[in-house]
């Protein structure tokens, strides 16, 4: 009769004690460098300058800050969508080709990932600055008379962030695509499905777990992204993390910085939770 995977007992599972030993170093690191500072920030947000929720009232009550928060969410969503649209075909190609071609694509995806975000962001500045490569070329071939303002625009930040985050999307989709047995596409083809029908009915639905994890990862990283928006963005593209950075380094308003951080964190957790819920509902069919 039906064999349903026994979810409870795992014959290969470690004992609770060994599990604890194994995760202890990572836990210690997280507590020391993440939980403690976070607690400190939370503490600051309600005690600086004195014990009140004034900082939260100030943050949530400010049109400017709320606009920046909305912009952060919107920009992150756009970056995620762009990364998905650009990344999925690459992942699909990567999962289909073999040998040298696969190596070439893998290198193209991985080398940017291994390169510092700072370097990649400065590369965009070199390309897009007033006397940068793009403007120089356009001036020389006579398309424009004066240099265009390419930096410090929302579109630029979006494109650069997509560039930085694209490998995460590609790799998480590729991982799932590669695990889809080859004979499923063969079976679909044998049963009468053409290339598009096979993709739509078999490959796409089976790749959704990779799409979800890629989307979630890119979206969350984008929400808290600092370097690229800080370097390539201007006042009208200010994002949450840049704003928080300003509070801690320029205005030294630690209370407000703490409140903004907590708001961003709460929003992130809320979105992750919502996403997880959608995922679980979807997952019922798989």
């Amino acid at each position: 009769m039906a064999v349903i995977a026994n979810a409870g007992a795992n014959p290969k599972g470690f004992s609770p004690r060994l599990s604890l030993v194994l995760i202890a170093p990572a836990m210690a690191l997280l507590v020391l460098f993440f939980v403690l500072p976070l607690t400190g920030l939370l503490d600051q947000s309600v005690r600086s300058p004195d014990l009140s929720i004034a900082n939260y009232v100030r943050a949530l009550g400010s049109d400017l800050y709320m606009k920046i928060l909305l912009r952060t969410v919107w920009l992150s969503a756009m970056v995620t969508a762009l990364a998905l649209v650009l990344g999925y075909p690459v992942a699909l190609t990567m999962s289909r080709v073999s040998g040298r071609m696969q190596l070439v694509i893998a290198v193209c995806v991985l080398v940017p990932l291994w390169t510092s975000v700072l370097v990649r962001s400065y590369a965009w500045i070199v390309l897009l600055q007033r006397r940068g490569i793009v403007n120089d070329t356009l001036l020389q071939i006579g398309v424009i008379d004066a240099p265009l303002r390419l930096l410090y625009r929302e579109g630029t930040v979006m494109v650069a962030m997509t560039h930085v985050l694209l490998p995460f999307m590609i790799l998480s989709i590729y991982g799932v695509l590669r695990s889809i047995p080859r004979d499923l596409s063969m079976a679909a083809s044998n049963l009468g499905a053409g290339g598009f029908a096979t993709f739509r009915h078999v490959i796409w639905p089976l790749s959704l777990p990779g799409v979800y994890s890629g989307v979630l990862m890119v979206f969350i990283i984008a929400l808290g992204f600092y370097i690229t928006p800080a370097l390539l963005g201007g006042p009208e593209t200010l994002m949450m993390s840049t704003l928080i950075g300003q509070q801690t380094t320029e205005t030294l308003d630690w209370g407000l910085a703490g409140a903004l951080s907590v708001i961003l964190l709460a929003l992130t957790l809320l979105l992750v939770g919502l996403f997880g819920r959608v995922l679980r509902l979807e997952g019922k069919g798989i």
Binding site: P181, D183, A187, A188, L191, G192, A197
Partner: protein
């Protein structure tokens, strides 16, 4: 377990409706490996053909060229007279059962079986009804809402079969479909598939490396080795009259006795000189006296008699007795490199003890003599 509803599948009287498959001079080379080396064969409508061979023999490549997943470098494939050599797999209208079943894990059984119907534009309601009907044919009535992961291997196998026959293809291709099942289930499924095939009248091309499976299931067996078709014929013909030493050794068990040709008679029987005397068998090809030859004789064809060698028999000694239930295997030392393997029915009053001197003989017509050593 399968119900007798096969004709309901077609909604018309049962009878042979299988397609005729013709493969002409198929060649396929991968690098320096000849996967298919000028293979030609024909499969009659409603016939069950097994492609048998060791791994790397080209049997799967041949099946894939019929399915359309491999394009032969040369040669032609026709189904019912239609040249399909260059037709993509999704336009060939052939059924196929994959080794690992290849069920779509995200679809219910009903949707899996209904998939080929959806691809053919059948409306959803009719799709579901036909899928349920075919699931009943393979003994899975009422399972339509389950997912493949909720089934055992044998049940998944049945679903794969249901999905491959629901659109009534003229030809069903099967790529080692039973290899992932345990022994008992495998033997049960052999007969179920064969019975279903007879009821539907569909032509089947069945790839296997299991010679017993091929003998039990197929109307005809095609033996392949190194990309070449070695011999094709009914199971009995292949087992009893193998055309060369490879086929003799691959199908069932056999004893090989190398010797030198002493002479041949007008009836096609050859006599070989071996270490312990002279032995005879049917020559499969003209033999030249004095050249090397190889005699093959099946374990169950050999007669043992206690006592010294009779006239025209080999003298030997029972080296080992292996009791295997219904039959007993005697390893008999006749002075050759390897002892002879002799299989006899286990009968209580007829046991030869180890060390007993025996006379070893067989009917010359039951042994085969191949040229070369």
């Amino acid at each position: 377990m399968m119900t007798h509803e096969a004709s309901a599948l077609r909604g018309r009287p049962a009878g042979p409706k299988g397609g005729a498959v013709r493969i002409e001079g198929a060649r396929k080379v991968y690098g320096t490996v000849r996967a298919l080396d000028d293979v030609s064969l024909e499969v009659a409508p409603g016939e069950f053909l097994a492609l048998l061979g060791p791994s790397g023999s080209g049997k799967t490549t041949l099946l894939m060229t019929v399915a359309g997943f491999e394009i032969p470098d040369a040669g032609r494939i026709t189904v019912d007279g239609r040249d399909v050599t260059a037709v993509p797999p999704n336009k060939r209208d052939l059924g196929m059962v994959f080794q690992r079943y290849a069920l779509f894990p995200h679809m219910t059984l009903r949707d899996n079986v209904g998939f080929p119907l959806m691809m053919r534009g059948v409306p959803a309601a009719e799709r579901a009804a036909r899928a349920d009907r075919v699931l009943a044919v393979v003994g899975l009535e009422g399972y339509g809402d389950r997912l493949p992961s909720q089934l055992s291997g044998g049940q998944q196998q049945r679903v794969a079969l249901a999905r491959a026959i629901v659109y009534e293809p003229p030809v069903l291709l099967m790529d080692e479909p039973l290899s992932a099942l345990d022994k008992n289930l495998r033997e049960q499924m052999r007969l179920e598939i064969k019975h279903l095939q007879k009821r539907l009248g569909v032509t089947v091309i069945f790839v296997t490396h299991d010679q017993e499976e091929a003998l039990v299931m197929a109307d005809r067996v095609a033996v392949l080795d190194k990309g070449q078709l070695i011999q094709i014929g009914a199971p009995r013909e292949l087992y009893e009259r193998p055309c060369n030493a490879f086929v003799a050794g691959f199908l069932g068990e056999t004893n090989f006795l190398p010797g030198t040709v002493a002479g041949t008679d007008s009836g096609g029987l050859a006599t070989l000189r071996v270490a312990g005397g002279a032995i005879s068998g049917a020559a499969v090809a003209p033999l030249v006296a004095g050249t090397d030859a190889l005699l093959s004789v099946r374990p169950e064809q050999i007669r043992l008699q206690a006592g010294p060698a009779a006239d025209g028999a080999l003298g030997g000694r029972v080296a080992e007795v292996i009791y295997a239930g219904a039959s007993t295997i005697y390893l008999v030392d006749v002075g050759t490199a390897a002892p002879l393997n002799v299989r006899r029915a286990s009968v209580a009053e007829d046991v030869l003890a180890e060390g007993t001197p025996v006379s070893v003989s067989w009917r010359a017509a039951d042994a085969r003599v191949f040229p070369g050593a």
